[in-house]
Symmetry: C2
DNA sequence: TACTAAAACTAATACCATTAGTTTTTGGAG
DNA sequence: CTCCAAAAACTAATGGTATTAGTTTTAGTA
């Protein structure tokens, strides 16, 4: 089906990229590192991807889908609104803690306007929307609130990773307190 | 006082780095670009800074102080808690919109454990703390809430910049709705 | 078995940061 | 007023990165 000389392919490259991102973060995902780890020379990678950006885009897509699966699992057991929000918040931070490299990959897509990326993001947004749609807000406000919850969670992850939280105060507790603040604010009309 | 051959100095370099960051983002802040813009050769920069990381640290510090001044001004007119939170939130997003390169610089300090950086960050945290200290939360919860507000605002900025908001919905409105959710959640016990 | 196309390769270019070693310059000491 | 030492510039070189062009290898298919 693929004719002559079946060697490395896109899937193999992206799997290796996942591995490298998990070990060393996005900074380690380079054509040079990929080639070394795959025991080929870096120009050979251009037979499969146009360049590093395209590799990172495919990696972002893979990471987004893994992230979605993780969040989905966490919300499977039917829960009411508040519980669903807590479950999503907890899962979001768990994923980012356990897979910092993948989280970095999915958040720093080199081309956010890409169709495939937007579709994958939409699935996550829909998941969060379900949890929030129980609130007394109108639909527009609910979409704003989804942005708010995503921003809160991403902000917590990103500021923590960048050393923005210096006071000796438990991070998990910060998550819990702020989820409660968000839930209360959402339901108090 | 500085003896022989007074040429370029740290201040001049950082001012140019600010200029470059404002125009082209942190990606454009390189030793090569700095040297070109200052009409010197890049190795000469090493007479004034140990390397690019040190330059970026000094730039982050400068950006943090400018950011602090901006937020400070926005909260000068004595306001009650909720109004202060709205003012800080608005100013935070304004600064990030008007100076995306500086915001990027201050948030991506190459060494968050640096003393000078931590002191500058603390000033900003204190500013936000003042606004939040009106709430009925205990002190520990208030610190968590400061983290929450910072995370919400940073998340909004960062997700927007990275193309994370695709629905045709006004960004400023997202800010306003989520500030109200936060304020309500903060005050409802 | 031979051809073809994919996938590897080598070689080269053009960036980047950084180090080592050399030259230039100039304020202040004599 | 001269000279000298130290600061700040320079050149040259190394090694890292992405990428392009052109060549060789290889394996499935005709």
């Amino acid at each position: 089906m693929m004719s002559p000389r079946t060697g490395i392919n896109q899937e193999i490259i992206i799997n290796k990229a996942v591995e490298i991102a998990e070990k060393g973060g996005m900074e380690a995902v380079t054509m040079a590192t990929l080639a070394r780890e795959l025991s080929i020379k870096s120009p050979s990678l251009y037979n499969h991807f146009k360049g590093l950006k395209e590799v990172k885009l495919a990696l972002a897509l893979k990471a987004l889908n893994l992230f979605y699966q993780y969040l989905k699992k966490a919300t499977l057991n039917q829960k009411d609104g508040s519980e669903a929000i807590r479950a999503i918040g907890k899962a979001y931070i768990e994923f980012a803690n356990q897979h910092p490299g993948l989280y970095e990959a999915l958040i720093s897509s080199p081309d956010p306007s890409s169709n495939t990326i937007q579709i994958a993001e939409e699935a996550i947004v829909d998941l969060i929307m379900e949890a929030i749609s129980v609130s007394p807000l109108n639909e527009k406000e609910q979409i704003h609130a989804v942005r708010g919850l995503r921003s809160l969670l991403h902000g917590l992850v990103d500021l923590k990773r960048k050393g923005g939280f210096n006071l000796p105060l438990d991070f998990e507790e910060s998550l819990e307190v702020n989820l409660e603040i968000f839930i209360k604010g959402l339901n108090e009309k």
